[in-house]
């Protein structure tokens, strides 16, 4: 990790990794979509709507995963002054927010045929909505200061304070017996879901992960390049000394 605190070294690595992650994302997405939409059976209770699960659940996992990555890298950035970590946090936020939106919307489209309601104020749904606001708040906060470095530092405090929401989302379905179904994949004793459904689920989860890595690399390279542009513009303004 410390080796890649040097942005230039990170950029070299990132440039190499980007096309590979893109390719991986495409392959996994294609495989995931094939199994999710074509080569898997409908659920005997939920029918074809179970296919929504193959978007909803991996997106939900990613919404939590991206937040944790964002909070950890923001923390590393502010505590150890690791410039690449800062960039990783900033780049993760919009992606995490996107996955959260997808989680909420896909959940609504699943809930309507299944429960009869687009939305209920169930613990997990509410906490996921709070997660979206945390993402949006983080993005607003880091852009609210004239000094970008100050923005990132403030954002780190917010991101770390909001981490408490992540276990709430994860365990809310166990603590409160309300509407959202309890855990059936990531729990003690292993998954209780059928193999033919586990395959598309895991493939889509991996596809989303690969996508995240790809977009993260692209955005981080853009952000680091932007930093260089800012520095060069400053030098241009002040004259070459």
């Amino acid at each position: 990790m410390l080796r890649y605190a040097n942005p230039n070294r990170f950029m070299r690595l990132a440039r190499v990794l980007t096309p590979w992650s893109a390719g991986l994302a495409v392959l996994l997405t294609a495989a995931g979509l094939w199994f999710a939409l074509v080569d898997s059976p409908p659920d005997y209770q939920q029918g074809e709507t179970v296919r929504i699960m193959y978007v909803h659940v991996p997106a939900a996992w990613m919404s939590l995963f991206c937040y944790v990555v964002m909070a950890v890298s923001a923390g590393v950035g502010v505590i150890w002054k690791h410039p690449v970590a800062d960039v990783a946090a900033k780049a993760s936020a919009p992606v995490g927010a996107a996955f959260t939106v997808i989680t909420l919307i896909s959940g609504a489209f699943w809930g309507k045929p299944m429960w009869g309601a687009w939305w209920v104020w169930d613990a997990r749904l509410t906490a996921e909505l709070v997660l979206l606001f945390l993402y949006l708040g983080y993005i607003a906060l880091i852009h609210a200061f004239d000094d970008p470095a100050r923005g990132l530092k403030a954002g780190a405090v917010l991101a770390l304070v909001g981490v408490i929401n992540v276990p709430i989302i994860k365990f809310s379905v166990d603590w409160w017996n309300t509407l959202h179904q309890p855990a059936s994949v990531v729990k003690m004793g292993g998954p209780s879901i059928d193999g033919s459904m586990l395959v598309p689920l895991l493939l889509m989860a991996l596809a989303f992960k690969a996508y995240y890595i790809y977009v993260l690399l692209v955005k981080m390279r853009a952000e680091i390049t932007a930093g260089k542009v800012r520095a060069l513009r400053l030098r241009q303004v002040h004259g070459t000394a």
Partner: protein, 65 residues
């Protein structure tokens, strides 16, 4: 998988109006974020190349972001 026709598959057992928007929206959002990122990267790279051309005396600094 035994759907007899493309039409049946598209119909998703009657749930087409729920299943397809989910995949459509997910695709649109994720592609949108990606495109936004790629555009930003290209824009910054163009700006950097332009600046480097205008300031030929600048050697690439080692570590300042």
């Amino acid at each position: 998988m035994e759907t007899a026709s493309l039409g049946e598959w598209l119909d998703m057992g009657g749930y087409a109006s729920y299943v397809w928007p989910v995949y459509g929206i997910a695709l649109a959002v994720l592609v949108g974020v990606l495109v936004h990122g790629l555009r930003a990267l290209r824009g910054e790279q163009t700006a950097l190349d332009g600046l480097r051309r205008d300031l030929p005396s600048e050697r690439e600094s080692n570590g300042e972001a």
